[in-house]
């Protein structure tokens, strides 16, 4: 069975050649799947015009993908249904994103350099001492960031279409185009929009957690968390405390499998929480989060309430023929921290780069193998990050004692340094083995102590 042959992919694809050898053992009964062994660079299919690619969704993933495609000489259509969409989002971007995407510093509202972790029993630990002066976590407004990336795509030559993607017709034969049906709003609000179609050769689905493109290609479902957030305007002197500080609250009262947060935004704070397993209790969890932060947000006025699904893991299928998913649509949100903006933009860019390369700057047709190259590169580069965060979530968000141990560990300077280094630069750095050993011992010690206390607590209640 071909699936068994492919099972040798264990976490990390080693080299492309391994991929090719696996492909060779595939049975040839599947005629529809032209799984070319060689890159499509030697594909005989050459187009007489530039390759046409549709990017559905104009968020960070779509904007980054469209820009890279347009720069690479591909005819790009970027579909976005609401150009001024104020997405509910934590809004945190790591330092490396600013450099990698050449973001101007003025779209960053705030630079967070301190974080406070608060345990279930309100033990508070400050982290951020190890940050260098030029390092920070950027807080952005999604509407500002998204618009900026889209504008850059337009400047590079992409066509932004203000419309809602409805569905797409899959091609009947290899080489025929995808037909996208959409409602063209053309910046008119309120109207139903004109039904139009467009033919493209490849599609990048960047339309977020409830992706329609994903539905069209039967990408499968994923588990998702509900993130619920209230934007609260607090007084100036209370706002001063959050000048460059974000808070994370952990505890069963705040979230059984995630955390509650207070993130500073441009002139207000966002207080929220999330959960996968107890979605029905989200309001109760939010109340508990507000209670834990009560002293610091007292007197505040809620100016907006928002909620959004956050994928927990990638969809079973991320690429089909000449359609690829990126960003939240693919499910590239990390566990533990729930971070998605950087990964969305980066995956959009990576997918676009794969298309540009596979089509030799828009001169040739692409096929699935080119898109699979993007998947391969993505999995290889970021799998360690995702796996480490998954392990952290499994170990430290399990129960209240685990969370207490987590906060205790955060007080350690080595932990802070490792955490911030890997968060800001998105690279899992091994670090000093001796320090790692000490860290492991301390972690186990913390967990053992917290669990021992927990068992005593249970004796009390009995």
């Amino acid at each position: 069975m071909a699936s068994i042959a492919l099972k040798s992919f264990v976490g990390l694809r080693q080299t492309t050649s391994e991929n090719k050898s696996i492909v060779l053992s595939k049975p040839t009964t599947q005629t529809r799947r032209n799984f070319r062994i060689n890159a499509s660079k030697s594909s005989p299919r050459v187009t007489g015009r530039n390759l046409r690619v549709a990017v559905v969704g104009g968020g960070p993933a779509g904007g980054a993908a469209a820009e890279t495609l347009a720069k690479g000489g591909v005819e790009t259509f970027l579909f976005e249904r609401k150009l001024d969409n104020c997405k509910p989002c934590g809004g945190a971007i790591p330092l490396c994103m600013v450099g990698e995407f050449d973001l101007p510093l003025d779209i960053i509202d705030r630079r967070v350099t301190k974080m406070k972790m608060i345990s279930p029993s309100n033990v508070a630990v400050d982290i951020g001492r190890t940050l260098k002066p030029h390092e920070y976590i950027g807080m952005v407004r999604r509407e500002v960031l998204d618009a900026y990336l889209r504008d850059r795509a337009t400047t590079a030559g992409a066509t932004v279409i203000n419309g809602l993607f409805l569905k797409m017709d899959l091609p009947k034969s290899t080489g025929s185009p995808y037909v996208l049906h959409y409602s063209d709003y053309d910046s008119k609000t309120g109207g139903a929009g004109e039904k139009k179609t467009v033919e493209v050769d490849a599609v990048i689905g960047a339309d977020g957690a409830n992706s329609r493109v994903a539905k069209n290609i039967n990408a499968g479902e994923y588990e998702y968390a509900i993130a619920f957030q209230e934007r609260i305007k607090i007084s100036d002197d209370k706002m001063k405390y959050y000048e460059d500080l974000a808070e994370m609250y952990v505890g069963d009262d705040v979230s059984p499998d995630f955390y509650g947060w207070v993130f500073p935004k441009c002139d207000h704070v966002a207080v929220g929480t999330g959960t996968v397993t107890h979605k029905g209790d989200i309001k109760k969890l939010q109340t508990a989060t507000r209670l834990r932060a009560r002293d610091k947000i007292e007197g505040g006025k809620i100016i907006r309430v928002e909620a959004h699904p956050i994928p927990e893991h990638p969809r079973p299928r991320r690429v089909l023929d000449r359609v690829a998913l990126v960003g939240d649509a693919a499910g590239y949100v990390t566990k533990c921290s729930g971070e998605g903006i950087y990964f969305a933009a980066k995956s959009g860019r990576m997918c676009a780069e794969a298309i540009v390369e596979g089509s030799e700057n828009g001169k040739r047709m692409v096929d699935e193998s080119d898109l699979r190259k993007y998947l391969e590169k993505w999995d290889k580069t970021y799998w360690p990050t995702y796996k480490v965060l998954d392990v952290l979530q499994k170990v430290f968000y399990r129960s209240n004692p685990a969370r207490e141990a987590f906060v205790e560990m955060c007080a350690d300077e080595y932990v802070q340094k490792m955490t911030f280094d890997s968060y800001l630069y998105k690279k899992v750095v091994p670090g000093n083995p001796l320090d790692d050993l000490k860290l492991a011992v301390n972690t186990i010690g913390s967990l053992v102590r917290a669990n021992a206390l927990r068992r005593e607590m249970e004796k009390l209640s009995v």
Binding site: F9, R32, P120, S121, A124, G299, G300, H313
Partner: protein, 263 residues
Amino acid sequence: MSMAIFSSTPPTQLPTLSPPQTKKTQFFYKPYFSLRPTKKHQYLVPIFASADEGSGVAAVKVEDEKASENPVSAGENLGSNGSPPLAAEAPEPATAELVESANKFQDPRWVGGTWDLKQFAKGGKTDWDAVIDAEVKRRKWMEDNPQSSSNEDPIAFDTAIIPWWAWIKRFHLPEAELLNGRAAMIGFFMAYLVDSLTGVGLVDQMGNFFCKTLLFVAVVGVLLIRKNEDIETIKKLLEETTFYDKQWQATWQDETSSKSEKN
């Protein structure tokens, strides 16, 4: 002050902020004899306190608290509380506002956001067991009555200050005794059984590789499986470690197998 207790919603405009204390409306009033002998100030107010002895009743003593709220002087505190026998050198954290402080964790040994180890002295040395007990009570109380985390009195207690041998003595040793007892019983019984079945004595059994393997399995089993449920737990844990990997690999496998079915 009692008014503040009943209307414990803080004066904010935050909608739907229900006081969490309403969860536990039990007026559990244990005679708080060890620390506060002045019973005449105590009365049965339906305070939403947990069953915890120390902190629960501390919240009940509303009128007393009022005097101690003002961060005036330690002496006045001791005076109003009837000079408890314990050497409570420092006053309770009294910097919070009146409304919230009634529900904060109160304990005379909880000073400045951590346990004052001097108050746990027993025979010249710190009584670590008592520290552990106190922290357990505090965590239980905090879990039942989630509190707002405040910047004025941050909590900074780290369980690492309790030395490792105190943990071992209290938690590890009893369980180790249990497990060693189990291992010894299994070992004796199995040695007897094997000897009666094969005639191989204990010393000769130790030389045999198969017996050594059995011994290893028995030891590991006793360590890992302490309750019947542990078998299921271990199976689930093993599955959990690879679950995320499988989710990521799905796009590589699904692509050939399910497509062929679809076609």
